[in-house]
Structures are given as C-alpha cells and as structure tokens.
Symmetry: C2
Subunit: 221 residues, 2 copies
C-alpha cells in the first residue's frame, strides 16, 4: 500500500541524534528528482499538458512511485512555486543584511536575484504561468510571498528616495516594475541563445539603475 506521503516532514525517525538520517536524505533526494523532472516537463508542455505517467516514465519509475512521495499533482506544483519565490526572497534578504548606500544594495540585489532567476528559470516560469492550478489556499500563500518581495523592494527604494539617491515618483510602482523586469527574463531567456546569463544580468542591472537613479547623480557608465 502506498504510504501516506508524510515524507514532507523530514527526519521522521526517532531523534537518534548521533547518526545521520540516511533514510530521510534518500527520501528527500527522490523527492528532488521527481520535482526537477516534473518542473522540466511542466515548463515544456504546461502543467495540465503533463501527465504524471510521463514524469514517471522519464524517471524510469511508475506513477505510484510518485504518489508515495507527493500527495497529488498539485502538491508538486506547490513545491515548484514555493521554491521559485522562496529563493528570490531569501536572496533579497541576504543582500539587505549587507550595508552600503541604497544604490549599491539595489544593484547587488538585482545581480543576485536575476542570476537566481536565470539559474532557476524553469521553476520561475512555471510558477508564474501555472499559479491558477494551485489550490486556492496555496495560491494565496504564494501571492503573499510575492507581495512581500515587492514590499521589501519598495522599502529599499523609499530609503534611496529619502537620502536623495533615487528619483522616483511612485516607489510602489517602481518596485512592481523592477521585480517584473527581473521576472520577465524567465519568460524570454533561452539558454544557449544570443545572450549569456551574465550579459542578461548586467543589462538588467543597467536598466534598473536607469529607472531609479537621479540623472545628475548617475555614477559610472
């Protein structure tokens, strides 16, 4: 009988604090494999266009195998989406712990986050496209995370405006635009295409800088 997929809560075994939880690690690894392959197919063929049989086939396993690691299809999508936004959020926060003038931090943030988005392009693209296939509760939670990102970005912009580094009329709008600009790359970027990831990152950085900086104060070029 397929065990209930309570693998989510890792280290379910007794608190044997000495040895590693090998079982758990293997489980997590398998979950990861499923997630990656599913994401790949969702990206290429859409969520509804992808059958779990197809995912299983690519992994040379069967559908019940998947069902012993995920409760259902939607849960896979949830993990993809969550990963997508969580990565961005943590990266953002990490950059914010550094200090330096707003522009420096903004640039660093754009660098880190855009890099991340390109590295995890499929996750991000799927997450953006398939939001409505999430269960309503989950969708709400994810949207909240997304919003948190924009809000924090807005704060940073406010800071810059206050100290005169930025020239922005509506920081809320600018925040949406900037995060949009970064997200957008996941939609059009093609690995192995005309532009390398690092070129995209650099150009995005420049665009963002242009968007916020007070003309006279713009530094290097």
């Amino acid at each position: 009988m397929a065990r209930p997929a309570n693998v989510t809560t890792k280290a379910k075994t007794k608190p044997d604090m000495t040895g590693r939880d090998v079982k758990g690690e293997i489980s997590a690894y398998k979950r990861r494999l499923i997630l990656e392959e599913a994401c790949h197919l969702f990206y290429a063929q859409g969520y509804e266009g992808t059958t779990l049989d197809a995912v299983a086939e690519r992994l040379n396993v069967t559908k019940p195998f998947i069902y012993s690691y995920y409760r259902n299809k939607a849960e896979i999508l949830r993990e993809i989406s969550e990963r997508g936004i969580r990565l961005c959020l943590t990266a953002f926060d990490e950059v914010m712990t550094t200090d330096g003038p707003p522009l420096t931090r903004l640039k660093a943030m754009v660098d880190r986050v855009t890099t991340l988005i390109l590295e995890n392009q499929e996750y991000i693209a799927v997450y953006q496209r398939e939001e409505m296939n999430l269960e309503p509760d989950t969708a709400r939670a994810i949207r909240k995370l997304r919003k948190a990102f924009d809000t924090r970005l807005e704060k940073l912009l406010d800071e810059g405006v206050t100290c005169g580094a930025f020239d922005i009329e509506d920081t809320g709008f600018a925040a949406i635009s900037i995060s949009g600009l970064m997200s957008w790359t996941a939609n059009w970027f093609q690995p192995g295409g005309r532009r390398s990831p690092s070129e995209v990152v650099v150009q995005t950085q420049k665009m963002v800088t242009h968007m916020v900086v007070t003309p006279k104060q713009e530094t290097s070029r």
Copy 2:
C-alpha cells in the same frame, strides 16, 4: 448536423454588393460573444480548467452551438491570442506613422499600447499564459508577431540612439525590457484596485522614459 465552422471567412454569401451582409454580421457577433466569455473564463480559471460546457452555460446556450462557430477549443484560444498581439502591433504601427522626435513617438507608443493592454487585460494575460496550449504552428505564428513588435521597437530605439536622444547600450535588450514592462501590467493590474488605468499608463511612461533617456537631456518632470 453541425456545419463546418467556415464562418471565419466572413461574407460567405454571394457577392451581393448592394445590401449589408446581415447574416454575416450576426455570425460575427455571436463569435464575438463566445470569444469574450471564453476569454473571461480562461482568464479566471485557466484554459484547461475551463470546459466548453461552462462557456456555453454562461451564454445560456449549449456546446454544439459553440462548435458551429469554432472548429475546436484551440481555435478559440488562437483567436484570443491573435487579438491580443494584433491589437498591440497595429497600435504601434499607427503611432509610428506620426512624425516627431523618437522620444515623443516612444512616449506616444507607450501610452497607446499600455492603455490597450489594460483595456484588453484578459486577452493579453491569457495569451501570455496559455501560449503552450496553442497548436505548434499557431504558437510559432504568434511568437513571430510578438517578435515583430520587439523588432520594430528596437528600430525606434536605434533611431533615438543615432540622433542622440537615447542613451542605450543594447537596444535589443531595452526593447525586450520595455515591451516586457508593458505586458507585465496585464499580470498584476486589478481593475478597481489602488491604481487607475490612467495612473498605470502615466507611471509606465515615466519608467520607460527613465530607462532610455540620456540623463542631461531629460525634459519635463
């Protein structure tokens, strides 16, 4: 028997050049109603999440009714997508026929296109999200149109760079970013929300201007 949906080619009746083609107009009107309702549901629940029965119900008709105006579900999606991008393209071209310096035309374009995008938000959003549910050929055709938009925008930017009005390193990238910024509004804008459409348009215009203009040359504020 359900007639083959050859309603697409309008004015199928004999070339009676005197009277109006009332039949055809009614047909077109019905197609339009179906399209709007379908788009609305696709927007709210996704393409695969929407059954044609549901569309029919909302219109107080039945599924075969729809099938006598559209060959299949994908054709409806095609028309939605095509409408989405076609609107933008024609608006762009229309603006380009006017003359004036690049910045003026760019601003006018952003105004017109963003307005259009907000007015047709559902079409645009569906078109962006559901691209992969189109038949491969159709998808290619649509992508081509999208690309045409970016290319023409790039040309305008090149012009501006040549005459010194714009300060852009990579006009191709800037074009993608700008069209991305405008498209993005269709994803987050909420009618009746905090910002009115015209505010969004104005702010988008400012963002775009910031992105391209050479600092010293920026005019009004």
